[in-house]
């Protein structure tokens, strides 16, 4: 069974809207369809502004989709309601400190989902909090402290603990380690891996760091300009990229032992969302572009074992 099924999910923001005039529609997410398998980690990568956060916020019900359907654990969600979604799917935020209310103790923060989502009694709550704190390696004495007393890594563990408290089986991890120091990043990533095993969780792991995504994911999905351009197994997608954009990303990552060279591209400007191109949105930058790319937006089609890409001239190999 799939943990999550998304069909033609679209989000259009209206920009320049005022009290009297209607704004112009900007598509931040342009018709994405994908599945997340039970128990897998699906990595999501893409440059800033490509729609990663918008997608994630729709998946947890914080943002109503403009079109499309979200199915969580087999149930179609027809109304964006974080309260209902919250029991099945939770969010771990990029900035661990700002995701904790500075005026609440850690205990108050931890109690909220237990009380509001599960209506637990005081005694039940205390027991559950102890269990969760034990699994994320946090000491219970932290419970009476305030968020500013913690380091980034500790605060992120608390954020993870809160997500676990909701007892959701799917977690969206939106850049969960990018605000942390490298030596602490690994601690948190390994903790996430352990928790996944312990509780049978499913992860959507959003990051701009290709190496981290590759290290933690089963499959990776590459986004560009609000759409999926490639999705495939983590160990193949960067090594064996089919889409020119994925290849560009992989070749741009700084790697020890590779000479410094900016990979070739024709230009480096992203398409204008107010004025979206008719054909492939990557065409302006793509060195493989042909005439058809200017006129027809390519569809996502299977190009290998469990490997899909949206390109008219996929890279061979």
């Amino acid at each position: 069974m799939n943990a999550l099924e998304v069909k033609n999910l679209t989000k259009t923001f209206e920009v320049g809207k005022s009290l009297f005039t209607k704004g112009q529609g900007v598509k931040a997410v342009r018709g994405m369809s994908f599945d997340v398998r039970d128990g897998e980690t699906l990595g999501i990568v893409g440059e800033s502004g490509c729609g990663k956060s918008t997608l994630a916020r729709m998946l947890v019900g914080l943002l109503p989709p403009s079109e499309g359907e979200i199915q969580i654990e087999g149930k179609v969600q027809d109304k964006a309601s974080p309260r209902e979604f919250g029991q099945m799917i939770q969010y771990v935020f990029q900035d661990p400190i700002s995701s904790l209310n500075p005026r609440k103790t850690i205990r108050e923060i931890m109690e909220t989902p237990l009380k509001r989502l599960h209506g637990m009694s005081k005694a039940e709550r205390n027991k559950r909090i102890s269990e969760i704190f034990a699994s994320v390696n946090l000491r219970e004495e932290f419970l009476s402290r305030y968020p500013h007393e913690f380091s980034g890594g500790q605060a992120q563990r608390i954020g993870i603990a809160r997500a676990l408290a909701a007892a959701a089986r799917i977690l969206i991890l939106d850049e969960p380690v990018s605000a942390l120091d490298v030596s602490v990043q690994a601690q948190v990533l390994n903790l996430l891996a352990d928790l996944k095993k312990e509780f049978g969780l499913t992860y959507l792991f959003i990051s701009h760091d290709l190496a981290v995504v590759e290290a933690v994911s089963d499959r990776v999905m590459v986004l560009y300009f609000g759409a999926i351009v490639e999705v495939g197994p983590a160990d193949a997608i960067f090594k064996n990229a089919k889409h020119p954009y994925t290849k560009l990303l992989a070749d741009s990552a700084p790697v020890v032992g590779r000479a410094l060279e900016a990979p070739k591209q024709k230009a480096d400007e992203l398409p204008d969302p107010l004025n979206p191109p008719t054909g492939c949105p990557f065409a302006k930058r793509c060195i493989y572009a042909t005439d058809i790319c200017e006129t027809t937006d390519p569809a996502l089609i299977e190009m290998g074992d469990d490997h899909f890409a949206a390109c008219h001239n996929p890279i061979k190999g």
Partner: protein, 627 residues
């Protein structure tokens, strides 16, 4: 709380306000039990008695009523009405502000337009109109004053709420099952409450004044009831003949309003977090230098840091941010400094040109030798001449170097003209050249762009162009690509590399990414807890790290192409630099640590062209990383 009071009373004026106000409040509270004559009993025979008359301490008014008694009762009433008006205005205004700020969108739009309309009316006119509509009377005056102050609270609180409503903890609360009302009450309100209190403390004085104004005009308290405004109003006719009847309530109003405002300002300043860190004054133009040792003789290198030590003194704590760093860089060379946040990379870089904020920063030892001159001892004028001219910086956030309101071309021109005279036309041509040099397409047109019209990568290229404007000898780049996407990062790195080869630039490149170091830097220095733990040519260090920290840190960072795997982690956290342990700072996290590591000073020992600060480098070098 005690700390808050301490800060508050360090401000003399606020303390004065607090004392005056407390005294006035005490009198107002005690008024009913003081042995005062009835304030409303008239005695026409005793009209206009001067102060210090028998039985009338402050004399009497035009109806022979005891002025002292009227003053006490009047003060009590004015304070009560002012406070009530402030509470009502704060309650309604803040509610409006929170709802508008939290709901956003159309609700916000409509509410705030209405508030704007209310604010567009002249203040006192609006109050008069309200009293005119409701009829005169103290309660109506109170409502009028409260009403005209609502927009002030609504605007302020809305501003704060908008900031909070976009915080991630609000989303987290939604996902924890809280409703909007619960979020407003339990998540937002505790955070805006201090702002509401401050806004009240700074406005209650004016509200007292406004109610007094309405009473003065006869629209507030009605005879014979005394408040400060009506006392003034009634005394107006006798201003020349018996000035004391006006002066007495006048002084009281002055005292109340002044004391409240002084105290209110004091409270606002004391809550400001910048005050707590001791950074009350504006930072000096150059870092304070207080060296406790004689500086070493300048070196022959282009730029060399020699045992540089920079500290921050906050309260009674001393943070040793840079604890004796020696580095050098020569023409055409690129030196990488790598380390985690808080390891002192940026402070090291800023110390070079005396850019560390002072106070609380201080250079306490060592030297920075540039072209044979010690910059640490240099005058501010000398530093200013060199800054941006011979030594230029590039920061992580390009917006910190670019002014949002000026065209990028004008900023480039200004950067050049700050250091040498240049005709406008030539400067402009050169600005275009610079933009071309940093590979900005269509430079001739882009030079008239404002920073916000450019993408993040483009802006970073403009700040590189700024750094290049005066053909510097050294560029210090502090994580210039951390905020950028990988594809843009690759372009910026390539650009810097080409520029250094073309122009023989020396680059100091600060980063936390080994991949970047490997690709760009000739030499690398690894920093931990304010000191260099390993230093040398890049390739040998990356191939065979000899300090356990370097080795572990490299293992923590996954590299592309390794597939799914468990990552190595370093247990624990870096030490706080105000409480460095004895001996090796890495010892608590080090798998090789022995008893000797925790005693005495561990020196940075050179071995050929490499140096390492560890007692057992050979052991480290021979051991495979395990997690």
């Amino acid at each position: 709380m005690i700390q808050f009071l301490k800060l508050l009373f360090r401000n003399r004026l606020a303390a004065l306000g607090a004392v005056t106000l407390s005294f006035t409040l005490l009198l107002a509270v005690l008024t009913p039990i003081l042995p005062l004559p009835n304030p409303n009993i008239t005695a026409t025979a005793d009209r206009f008695l001067p102060p210090f008359s028998d039985g009338h301490l402050l004399g009497t008014d035009h109806l022979g009523r005891d002025l002292f008694s009227r003053l006490m009762w009047g003060t009590r009433l004015s304070l009560a009405v002012g406070a009530a008006a402030a509470l009502i205005a704060a309650f309604i205004g803040s509610t409006i502000g929170i709802v508008a700020g939290f709901m956003g969108g159309r609700t916000d739009n409509i509410i705030m337009r209405l508030v704007d309309m209310l604010m567009a009316f002249p203040y006192i006119l609006l109050a008069l109109a309200i009293v005119a509509a409701l009829g005169p009377g103290l309660v109506n005056a109170l409502f009028a004053v409260a009403a005209v102050n609502i927009p002030f609270f609504a605007r302020n609180i809305r501003g704060v709420t908008v900031g909070l409503a976009n915080k991630e903890f609000v989303d987290a609360a939604r996902l924890s099952g809280m409703s909007n009302l619960q979020i407003i009450l339990f998540e937002i309100l505790p955070n805006v409450l201090p702002v509401i209190v401050i806004a009240m403390s700074t406005t209650v004085g004016w509200m007292i004044l406004e109610t007094a104004g309405l009473s003065f005009l006869g629209l507030g308290s009605q005879p014979p009831q005394a408040d400060l405004g009506s006392m003034l109003g009634e005394a107006r006719a006798a201003l020349i003949t018996s000035p004391h009847t006006s002066i007495v309530p006048g002084i009281m109003i002055f005292l109340i309003v002044m004391s409240i405002n002084l105290l209110g300002d004091g409270v606002r300043d004391a809550i400001d977090p910048r005050l707590k860190s001791g950074a009350l004054s504006r930072p000096l133009p150059a870092t304070i230098v207080e060296r406790d040792t004689t500086p070493p003789a300048p070196s022959d290198d282009l730029l060399a840091l020699q045992d540089l030590r920079t500290e921050f003194h906050v309260g009674d704590r001393t943070y040793k941010a840079v604890g004796g760093v020696s580095l050098k860089v020569n023409k055409g060379e690129c030196l990488g400094i790598i380390g985690e946040s808080g390891s002192g990379k940026s402070v090291t870089a800023l110390s070079v040109m005396g850019l560390v904020a002072s106070p609380p920063g201080k250079i306490v030892g060592g030297a920075v030798s540039f072209q044979g001159n010690d910059l640490v001892g240099a005058s501010y004028d000398q530093l200013r001449e060199l800054r941006g001219d011979r030594v230029a910086y590039i920061f992580q956030d390009p917006l910190s170097t670019l002014h949002p309101l000026y065209k990028v071309g004008d900023q480039l021109i200004e950067a050049m003209q700050a250091h040498r005279k240049m005709p406008e036309k030539e400067a402009r041509a050169r600005a275009v050249e610079l933009l071309e040099a940093v590979r900005i397409p269509n430079a001739a047109r882009r030079v008239d762009n404002y920073p916000h019209e450019m993408s993040g990568g483009m802006r970073q290229r403009v700040s590189i162009a700024m750094a290049l404007a005066n053909e510097p000898d050294v560029i210090i780049a502090d994580e210039p690509t951390t905020a950028l996407d990988v594809t843009v990062q690759a372009q910026i790195l390539t650009l810097l590399d080409e520029l250094r080869r073309e122009r023989d630039l020396a680059i100091v490149f600060i980063t936390h990414d080994f991949g970047v170091v490997a690709q760009l830097c000739d030499r690398v220095a690894v920093m931990y807890a304010g000191r260099i733990v390993e230093e040398g040519p890049t390739a040998p260090i990356l191939d065979d790290p000899q300090h356990p920290y370097t080795k572990k840190l490299m293992a923590c960072v996954p590299e592309l192409g390794g597939g799914k795997r468990e990552l190595h982690a370093i247990p624990g956290l870096p030490p706080a630099v105000d409480r460095l342990p004895q001996g090796c700072a890495f010892a608590p996290r080090c798998e090789f640590a022995q008893e000797v590591c925790k005693q005495g000073e561990i020196t940075l020992d050179a071995n050929g062209d490499r140096a390492v600060r560890c007692l057992f480098p050979d052991k480290v070098s021979q051991t495979e990383v395990t997690s």
